[in-house]
Subunit: 345 residues, 2 copies
């Protein structure tokens, strides 16, 4: 079923059919009606691929993700909302882990799709930011290092401080940190928030208490184990995202450590899975759906030729209290704070 079929059925040329489809001027009303009738009868829809190859304007925006996991799928819900009524359609592209490990997957995706198929794209946690692309781009929670790219993220540092201060407020003094992907700006900010909170409470940073999980299942499990098998193990762990926090919960169960009585765990993201965790996870809420919605809205503005006032949107984070945190069982506080005890704010 091609435009040629429609043309021959209607007894006109493909050029005429094309004009009718695209509402171009220069077609007699009678001809247009006849062609339209054939289109309707045949149920013809023009090939997105062929059209985009030729015209470089598709009314489709792309969302490029490394994988479809809880974070990106939450984001899609918000993106979908923003698309409603915009006249655009949505294509989500994922190598499904095919090239996830390789840094720069988003660059590969872009050269495969950009210039054709999509008019603009939202890049979700890209590893390499390139400001020079043929099409408008918006990054969500991008790689470290400034780039000219419009972006939306959330207040990661504040969220991390909130999480750490919550644990401190409960009386914890030995607080482990399960760090995220070192290349992500957001992960770095979360580490910073953790350190700042400790410092503000005059607690020296113990390098043993920081392990890198890189947001990867295997590595997170290893990191959690390292933390929980320490001679003087932490009474609480702040994990840089919910998935690694859930991994920590799992590891605690394996090691026979009760949560929250013997170990408190805080996550980051507030993905739906955090509520279903056992016990339900105390975590830092990041408005993921809103981030998706605003990224698409920003992209739509860009596509519309506008010059948005705000080109870097940072959404607020807040703490969600559930059941994975409690005061430390023993007054270890005394024991852990062997160092100086300043009174900084």
């Amino acid at each position: 079923m091609t435009i040629g079929d429609v043309a021959s059925h209607a007894g006109v040329s493909v050029a005429t059919v094309s004009k009718v489809i695209n509402g171009r001027y220069g077609v007699a009303a009678a001809t247009a009606a006849k062609v339209q009738a054939v289109i309707d009868e045949l149920g013809y829809e023009s090939s997105l691929v062929a059209r985009s190859l030729r015209s470089h304007k598709t009314n489709v925006i792309g969302i490029l993700v490394a994988d479809l996991e809880p974070f990106s799928t939450e984001l899609l819900k918000g993106a979908s909302r923003a698309i409603h009524g915009s006249g655009y359609e949505l294509v989500v592209y994922s190598a499904g882990g095919l090239a996830v490990d390789s840094v720069g997957w988003e660059k590969r995706y872009l050269s495969r799709l950009g210039g054709t198929l999509i008019d603009g794209a939202v890049l979700v946690t890209p590893t390499v930011v390139e400001a020079d692309a043929a099409i408008p781009l918006v990054a969500v929670d991008p790689h470290r290092g400034r780039s000219g790219l419009p972006m939306v993220d959330s207040d990661n540092r504040r969220g991390a401080r909130l999480a750490t201060e919550h644990l401190l407020g409960l009386g914890h003094r030995r607080i482990g940190f399960l760090a995220g992907r070192p290349d992500l700006e957001s992960a770095e900010q979360r580490a910073l928030g953790y350190r700042q909170a400790l410092e503000a409470h005059g607690i020296p940073l113990d390098p043993d208490l920081v392990q890198i999980g890189a947001y990867e299942q295997e590595l997170s499990a290893d990191a959690a184990r390292a933390l929980l098998t320490l001679p003087d193990r932490p009474t609480a762990v702040f994990a840089a995202n919910d998935r690694s926090a859930i991994e920590t919960l799992e590891m605690a169960r394996v090691l026979g450590i009760a949560v929250p009585s013997e170990l408190s765990v805080v996550g980051f993201d507030n993905i739906p899975e955090s509520v279903m965790a056992e016990p339900p996870l105390t975590t830092v809420n990041q408005p993921i759906q809103d981030m998706g919605r605003m990224a698409v809205e920003l992209l739509l503005e860009l596509l519309g030729g506008a010059s948005p006032a705000q080109t870097h949107l940072t959404l607020p984070t807040d703490l969600v209290l559930r059941s994975s945190t409690a005061p430390p069982r023993l007054p270890r506080a005394r024991r852990g704070t062997s160092g100086r005890r300043t009174t900084s704010a």
Copy 2:
């Protein structure tokens, strides 16, 4: 950045570059190495669009959804898992509500993408099933009426019986049903399960207690209100999906009806949002992620030229008890059962 650029940089023809890219025979090792070097240096990736227009084989499979909501995004998580290591990439296509209302959106999508861009597709809750497509297709939870299409669904009737029997077991006798999209086979099965459970308990069907929400927010709210403002209102409501169950919870709050003490509510699907509902929703679990995974696995088999033994997969459903159900407060049971009291199984 096109294949032509690579060709001129390498001092060869585009045909040679194409051969190198696709690993075709008939290229001198030295030439191939030189071309590859240029490709790497330039970071060239062939245009998916151009390639697919020409070769009709893209190594990409499509997942076609009407909208990105909790059900479809859960499904995507499973689909993504199945894609890992398959060598295929994934494109999710959604009009984002652009043409959702129009029956047959999946047909439109297919003619836009099929034959080009994707080698096969998973159709999520399609409204019109067409067995004759140019590419392999798998339907998830499709439209009513048999079609030759390979499909995966879940045991909807059993799930609905389980839900209704749970309410009956608690002592409820006036049980409302908030029905789903009439065109979906699954919705019909859920209605059937509801009716069968009532019948098995000798409770006559009260037409007032059945309202259609069609899985739509507005309609579900209206249907819930109709149910809850009945003179002799039901003591329990079984909603055909979680979203309408959550809508019912919301309507109960608006009307000042306490859940579960004054009203029990059961949903269907077990989407993540059901855990977060207030109160957490008792619901029928449908293994949505597995459905996505198996749909993709089935499609992959089809794409590989296999003739799968099973071409219609039905996954089990089960009841998840949470906090939105309880025995009815008053012994209304006596009052509601004015009709005959048979003892059918």
